[in-house]
């Protein structure tokens, strides 16, 4: 399992290929339809947190960002300084405690080792209120090289999340960024 040092080194060396430089259109479309501005929102493995910038722009008031890499946290702390609605934590998602209405997934799930996926599903559910939402994007393809990132497919994801979530949506994303078109799923899962 890649650890804190692994990710921090990637940030230090600017090897952040997953960073697309703007919020994913699939996620901004979801945010546009999510109207509770007071909702407690968590973005794990937030990286440069472009989605959080979008949330702020849209008037959301309670956003928590967590990333394990101190270098990433240092960068976003500067960008979000003075924004009281954004709380930034440098830490491990799997040890995080809290209760949220919405968790946004964007290239965090694919960054963790597949043998941690069961824990991810369980932990996500434990951090959400009943009826809370886990929404975001998952790769719907496999990669040739050992990850991260690690790929996957719809059947695996259904088996993984169904014990904890009602699957409101798990479909091919129709507005992926061009390189990922046709190889990404948009998910909206409701905690049981």
């Amino acid at each position: 399992m890649p650890d804190k040092d692994f990710w921090n080194t990637r940030w230090e060396n600017r090897e952040t290929g997953w960073d697309i430089g703007y919020p994913s259109p699939g996620i901004t479309a979801f945010i546009d339809e999510y109207h509770d501005k007071e909702a407690a929102i968590l973005i794990p493995g937030c990286g440069n947190a472009y989605e959080a910038e979008y949330l702020v722009k849209k008037g959301f008031q309670n956003i928590t960002l967590i990333d394990i890499a101190p270098k990433a946290v240092e960068q976003i702390s500067e960008r979000f300084s003075g924004m009281a609605q954004v709380k930034i934590i440098c830490g491990d998602f799997f040890e995080h405690k809290g209760l949220y209405d919405l968790m946004i997934e964007q290239t965090f799930f694919c960054a963790i080792s597949p043998n941690m996926r069961q824990q991810y599903a369980q932990k996500s559910a434990s951090l959400l209120r009943p009826g809370g939402t886990l929404a975001g994007l998952l790769f719907n393809t496999v990669f040739e090289k050992e990850g991260p990132p690690f790929g996957g497919g719809i059947k695996e994801y259904l088996d993984l999340f169904s014990p904890y979530f009602e699957i409101k949506m798990m479909d091919e994303c129709c507005n992926s960024i061009p390189p990922r078109a046709g190889n990404e799923l948009i998910i909206e899962l409701l905690k049981k």
Partner: protein, 186 residues
């Protein structure tokens, strides 16, 4: 007054030390441009010939595999042959090794994005590099670098499978795809 003259002298020396292309005479610059361009052309021809062969042999899917396994090797071989540094860089890279990271490369990219014309630039260590734009100049390029209508789903899947963080799509004919960076002395 003496202090002012001394200060001017210090700045003048500093300016020379950090100077870039202005430290070259026009003749020297032309020579370096010619050297850099001949290397760029030879490597580009080699790569294009090989990609064309791969396309003919097995279509875009096969060509992607060829690029993934052989392009870097061919570039490195040409680097050894010419005894100099050769690299391809892009703001929308496919291979992570081709990402623009250095400040000097960012400066060069900005310059090429404004005006697609080769030039020689000196880096902070006094090394001179030839930069030249790489453009999308053949319809075949779009089969792996074009928009959604240009790239077959099977090709896109193979590309993403080999390059999970690919950014090198959505180009049109004539677009700036990347740049050559070739060492031309110090």
């Amino acid at each position: 007054m003496k202090q002012l003259i001394a200060l001017f002298f210090v700045f003048a020396v500093a300016a020379c030390k950090h100077g870039t292309t202005n430290t070259l005479s026009p003749e020297q610059e032309q020579t370096l441009l010619k050297t850099g361009d001949s290397i760029a052309v030879s490597v580009q021809e080699l790569l294009q010939q090989n990609v064309a062969k791969a396309m003919q042999a097995g279509g875009p899917v096969y060509a992607v595999a060829f690029c993934n396994e052989k392009a870097a090797f061919l570039t490195d071989s040409m680097s050894t042959l010419h005894g100099t540094f050769i690299q391809r860089l892009s703001d929308k890279n496919r291979n992570p090794a081709n990402e623009i990271k250095d400040t000097a490369d960012h400066t060069a990219w900005k310059k090429l994005s404004t005006k697609q014309e080769a030039f020689v630039q000196t880096d902070a260590h006094g090394k001179r590099y030839f930069y030249k734009p790489i453009t999308i100049n053949m319809p075949a390029c779009l089969k792996c670098h074009g928009g959604r209508a240009d790239i077959q789903d099977s090709t896109r899947k193979v590309i993403l499978g080999k390059y999970p963080y690919d950014k090198a799509v959505d180009y049109q004919m004539g677009d700036l795809r990347g740049m050559w960076k070739i060492g031309v002395g110090s």
